[in-house]
């Protein structure tokens, strides 16, 4: 089955109001081409699940497309917290639900397994239980210990970027997989962009790098440079010139709007 679609067709796969989860981590292998297409298509009111958020989530927040954010981190690693994230958080521009990385992973794991919650030890004795209604104390049926139940998250769509994919939906990642396989398993639909589309035989030759199984994949998009300005090892490192430019524009809402108009919402994506 051929799942290849063009970048512009991605808009047919996501609806305003959907819950999306985004792969990659921080400044690494973020599906920026897909995220920009979401913005270009005018999709809004998204619920975004972000374990290791970077420019992907910051951009969606800055473009005003996020209604609700489950997050553990949104930032630029050494570049500091996400400026749009900070502004939105301080001005309550969306609903923010804070967790730890592990709590969000557990929520996705429950979603992936089709169960409604996961028990964890994490978060006990912290304020997270007060600020996050997706957490509840729950007594273990064995031994009576008090643990935390994390409510499952089953996103509508996962957006991922990988090094190579075949038309049937196998995806290979040569660097850190982060949580991409979990995101794909938890989501009802996975849209995967790839540096290049290869034939299935090429995938089979390096089966150990197959992070994403075709069962999880709905659509495949060829997008060389599709993670830029974040890195996509070993194809390219993060582009710090474009990163600095982004942070410069993101200093105020006004300058960032102009940046979004020009770069994200514009006609064509620059492919490196």
């Amino acid at each position: 089955m051929n799942k290849v679609i063009g970048l512009r067709d991605v808009r047919e796969e996501i609806r305003s109001g959907d819950t999306i989860v985004i792969g990659g981590g921080g400044l690494v292998r973020k599906p920026m081409a897909l995220v920009e297409e979401v913005i270009r298509a005018g999709i809004r009111d998204l619920t975004v699940v972000s374990v290791l958020g970077g420019p992907d989530v910051d951009l969606l927040l800055g473009a005003g497309r996020v209604k609700k954010l489950f997050y553990a981190y949104v930032g630029f690693d050494f570049g500091g917290p996400g400026p749009n994230f900070r502004r939105a958080r301080e001005e309550n521009k969306a609903e923010f639900i804070e967790g730890s990385e592990f709590i969000l992973i557990s929520a996705l794991e429950a979603g992936a397994r089709g169960i409604s919650f996961m028990p964890v030890r994490s978060g006990l004795g912290s304020d997270l239980l007060r600020v996050n209604s997706n957490l509840q104390k729950f007594v273990s049926p064995f031994g009576g210990e008090k643990l935390v139940a994390v409510k499952a998250i089953r996103p509508d769509v996962a957006l991922l970027h990988v090094n190579s994919a075949d038309p049937t939906g196998y995806g290979q990642i040569l660097g850190d997989w982060f949580l991409d396989p979990l995101c794909a398993q938890a989501a009802k639909k996975t849209i995967m962009s790839a540096e290049k589309i290869v034939d299935t035989e090429t995938i089979e030759q390096r089966f150990a790098d197959t992070a994403i199984v075709k069962l999880w994949t709905s659509k495949v998009v060829e997008a060389p440079g599709g993670a830029g300005f974040t890195s996509c090892y070993p194809d390219y490192p993060a582009d710090f010139v474009r990163l600095k430019e982004y942070l410069g524009h993101a200093r105020s809402a006004e300058t960032f709007n102009a940046y979004v108009e020009k770069n994200a919402a514009g006609q064509e994506r620059r492919v490196s």
């Binding site: 919650f117 996961m118 030890r121 049926p141 064995f142 210990e145």
Partner: protein
Amino acid sequence: MSKICTLREAISSIEDGAAVAMGCGLESLIPFAAGYEIIRRKKRGLTLVAPISDIQFDQLIGAGSARKIVAAWVGNVAAGLGHNFRRAMEEGIPRPLEVEEHSNFTIALGLKAAGMGLPYLPTRTALGSDFSEAPHFRAITCPFTGERLLAVRAVAPDVAILHVQRADSEGNAHLWGNLGVVREAAYAAKRVILTCEEVVDHEVILSDPNRTLIPGFLVSHVVDAPFGSHPSPTQGYARRDDDFYFDYHRQSRSLEGFQEWLQKWVFGAGDHEGYLDLLGKERREKLKPGRELCSPAVNFSV
């Protein structure tokens, strides 16, 4: 710190009455050499833990080492029922056996729960079946949705005995192929005894970090035991010896036949080297993989 020792030393470290996970690779990577040594060392009162252990549990049950079984299945995958298991359940021969019954999936969840340091994990499986009434399962209500789920109690063995392709002297292990719940067992157990096809330098382990699925800090003993999974397969090193399973099945049909089998292959062999001699060079050569099916090397450079 080098953890390399003989099979006898490693197995001697197991206390009578311990809960031992072994054979967690389903039909492959079953640590038969270690099982035979458990019988030679006359360990008693063990709780044996694994989803499927092929004939390994049947052997340990017949030899009188086991008191309790925590498993989804005990038998002979190729040939049928496990005769020793059957004798123990039906007639208490050589001794009565307690069974904590699981499905393959619930035992995986039990091991995973223990590995995560949790008392249980919730699941949808087994609800509505009779075996969900057992004390290691509890019906629970989801605090968010009100749904009925099944809680599977953690399964925390005292020790896991795992056969792997290669390990360094500290117990950092590379394994590949069909893994079953080997990793879940390694994390669930208080400690791990490794038997391996090859002991390799630490540099070999470092050269392929993504394949290091068992970290050395979980491991207490490392035993160099090539062909240590025989008659079960270890991908890249040994194919499955089907005839061995069929012969075992025929011989263990009667109690006397099983005693003779035990006398020859376990006590008579004396140790793993003796067992390999008994198999003979020709048979071992035939069981080596007939061809190489290698994945291309990957470049870890940045």
